[in-house]
Symmetry: C2
Subunit: 356 residues, 2 copies
C-alpha cells in the first residue's frame, strides 16, 4: 500500500478543495482520499475517529447539550478530462469542485480548527454516494454505527448555492397495469383494448392536484407523473395489457408507506405494483440548533424537492438540511467549478456558527 | 432437378388435397409443388399456361363475354409436425388443409375437368402469400402480367367456411406523436409531460364512432385502435415524447389515401406519421358474374373484415370475393384440418356454376 498523500491543511478552504480534486476518488475508488483524510485527522487530539471501509466518522466529545452532524460524500462521478484542478478568474475547476469536494474541504478545515465548538460535532465523510443506493457509505454507517450518527440536527454539505435547503421530498415509483382482451384488430369489438383504458389513468394524472404543504415552515411541492408507458402486442392485435409507470414525489409529512397508500387509492381501479420507494426528510427547522443555523446562514431557507441523503438522517430520527457552496446545476458536468470566494465564505459562516 | 411428383387427378377433390399437403411447400420452397401443378396442366389442351417463378396462370381462351379469376396461394406456414396428411372420422388433417390446399385442389379439379365453361376462366396459383408482402407472388404477377389477370370478377379460394365473403377492408398504421419538455420529475412543473398529453389521444380513440357502411350490399365494420404505445426517458425524468401506434381498418368505399386523410384529421393536433397502408377491395356483388356466383353458392354473403389478397384484384380493377372450404380459424394451427365433404361440395358447387 502506498503511503497516503499528505494534505496541507494550512491553506484556505478553496485551496484545500483543489488538493482534494487532485486526489481522484471516483465511486468505488475512494481509498487514497479516505487514507489522506484519516492521516490528517490523526493529528487532531480533540477528535475520536472511526473508519468503516472508505468512510470516516470524527467526533468531538465535549459533553455539550447539543450535537450536530456535518456530512459529505468523498466520491465523484467519473473524471471527464477535468482533473487536475485549475483556477481561472476566481473560479476553481475540476471534477467534484461543486459536488462536493468544496463541501468536504469546508468540513476538514472546521474539523481541524474548531477545537472547542459551542455544540458537539460529528463529522462524517462517506463513499459511494454517486452510484446505486445499496453501496452508499452513509447507508452502511447507519446500519453499522447508528449510535455514532445520533445527533439533534444534521447538515449535508451538498451544493445548494449557499442557501439552506431543508429536508427533502420522498420518491416512489409504481406500475399501474390495465388488463384487456386480445383480438384481431380487424374485429376489435371481439376484444378489449388495454391501451385505450390506460387513457383513464392518464386522465387522472392530468387532473391530479398536487399538494404543496408547509412542513416545519417550508413549502414543499409534490408531483405525480407518468415517467413511462408501454403496451402493444403486434400491429394487428388489440392489446391486452398496458403499463403506466408513475413517479410520486411526496412531501416529508408523508411516510413512504403513506405515499404508497395514496397511490393505491388514486389508482384503486387497477393493479398497482410498487417498484421502489424512499421516504423524504423533514427539515426540522423548528429545533433550536436548526433554527440558529438557518438564522446564521442568512437568506430564506427553501424546501429541497429532489431526494438527497438527508433522508437517511431523517430515517435515524435526525432532522437535516442541505447547505454547501457550489451551484447544483454544475454537478456532473465536464465544466464543473465553484467560486473560490463562495467556498471560503461558507467555511467562515459555519465556523462562526459552530463557535456559537 | 428431380422430376416433378405426378399428381393423380382422377381422385376426388379431397383426395387431391391430401396429395397436395404431402408435397411440402412452405413459403419460399414452393418449386416442387409448382412443378407438379405445371406438369398436370401440361396435359390440358384447353388451357394456356404462363409460369412466373413459382406462380402459374392457366387461362381458357373461348371468347366468352365474361371472364372470372379463380386464385389461390400454394404456400403454407412452416410445417408443425402435421405432414404427411391423415384422415380421421371424415376430417383431413395436415399443414395447409384449410389454408389453402383444399382450395388449390378445387381449382385444379375445375381446371382439368371444366373444358367448356360458360365464361372464360383464369386460374392463378401463386407463391409467398404467408410472408412479407413484397415477396407475394400475386403482387409480382400483377406487376409482370397485369393483362393476364384482367377479368370481370375474381374469387380467392381462401377458407371462408363455404360462405361468400365479399371484398375486404383496408388497413393503415400510423404513429401519433406528442411532444413535451423534459424536466426532473422532482420539479415536474418545469417541464411538460408528453405521456399525460397522450391521454387525449386515447380519449379520442375511446370515443371514436366506427363507421359500418354498406358497400355493394355488404355491411362492413371499421375500427380505429391503438395497437402500441411507448414513452419515457428515465424513472426521474418528465418525458418529452410519447408515441401511440394506431391501426385503422377501413371499409372499401374509402381509398388508402382517404383513410390516411381521415386519420390525419382525427389527430390533427399532433404529428401523424403513416407507417403502412393497404387499400381494401369492393365486393362488387352488383356485377352479373358476382351476383350469379353469390346466388349459386347460396347462404348470405358477408363482408370480409380482415385484409386479404382480394385487395390486389381490386387494385387491378377486378371486384373480388373470398370463398373456399375450411374454417379460417384453423389456419396456421398445428391441428389444421378440413371436412372432406366440404371440399367435395365446394368443387361441386363451383363446377355447376362455371358450366352455367
Amino acid at each position: 500500500m502506498l503511503p497516503a498523500v499528505q494534505l496541507d491543511l494550512s491553506v484556505s478552504p478553496a485551496e484545500l478543495t483543489a488538493q482534494l480534486i487532485d486526489i481522484e476518488s471516483v465511486s468505488g475508488s475512494e481509498r487514497p482520499l479516505a487514507d489522506s483524510i484519516q492521516t490528517a485527522l490523526g493529528a487532531c487530539d480533540h477528535l475520536t475517529v472511526i473508519r468503516d471501509g472508505n468512510a470516516l466518522i470524527a467526533r468531538t466529545e465535549l459533553g455539550r447539550p447539543q450535537r450536530v452532524v456535518l456530512a459529505g460524500h468523498i466520491d465523484t462521478v467519473p473524471i471527464a478530462g477535468n482533473v487536475p484542478s485549475r483556477i481561472d478568474r476566481g473560479l476553481l475547476y475540476g471534477c467534484g469542485a461543486a459536488d462536493m469536494k468544496s463541501g468536504v474541504a469546508v468540513q476538514l478545515k472546521l474539523a481541524m480548527e474548531v477545537t472547542a465548538p459551542a455544540m458537539d460535532v460529528t463529522y462524517v465523510w462517506y463513499d459511494c454516494e454517486e452510484i446505486e443506493s445499496e453501496r452508499n457509505g452513509l447507508l452502511r454507517l447507519s446500519r453499522n454505527s447508528p449510535d455514532s450518527l445520533a445527533a439533534d440536527f444534521a447538515i449535508l454539505l451538498e451544493p445548494t448555492g449557499g442557501v439552506v435547503e431543508g429536508g427533502c421530498q420522498g420518491t416512489l415509483r409504481a406500475e399501474i397495469r390495465t388488463a384487456g382482451e386480445r383480438a384481431h384488430s380487424a374485429r376489435a369489438w371481439m376484444g378489449r383494448n388495454a391501451i385505450h383504458e390506460a387513457g383513464e389513468i392518464l386522465g387522472i394524472l392530468r387532473e391530479y392536484q398536487a399538494r404543496e404543504p408547509d412542513v416545519d415552515g417550508l413549502r414543499f411541492h409534490e408531483g405525480l407523473n407518468a415517467v413511462g408507458i408501454r403496451g402493444g402486442v403486434a400491429g394487428n392485435v388489440i392489446p391486452d395489457e398496458c403499463v403506466v409507470t408513475v413517479n410520486y414525489r411526496f412531501a416529508p409529512d408523508r411516510s413512504a408507506q403513506q405515499a404508497a397508500e395514496h397511490v393505491r387509492e388514486v389508482f384503486s381501479r387497477w393493479q398497482v405494483t410498487l417498484t421502489d420507494a424512499a421516504g423524504g426528510a423533514r427539515p426540522g427547522l423548528g429545533s433550536p440548533a436548526a433554527a440558529s443555523f438557518a438564522a446564521a446562514m442568512g437568506g430564506t431557507p427553501r424546501a429541497k424537492l429532489g431526494w438527497t441523503d438527508v433522508a437517511r438522517f431523517d430515517a435515524l430520527g435526525v432532522p437535516a438540511v442541505n447547505f454547501g457552496p457550489g451551484d447544483p446545476a454544475l454537478a456532473h458536468t465536464r465544466g464543473e467549478h465553484v467560486r473560490i470566494a463562495a467556498v471560503d465564505e461558507c467555511a467562515r459562516q459555519m465556523r462562526a456558527w459552530l463557535l456559537g
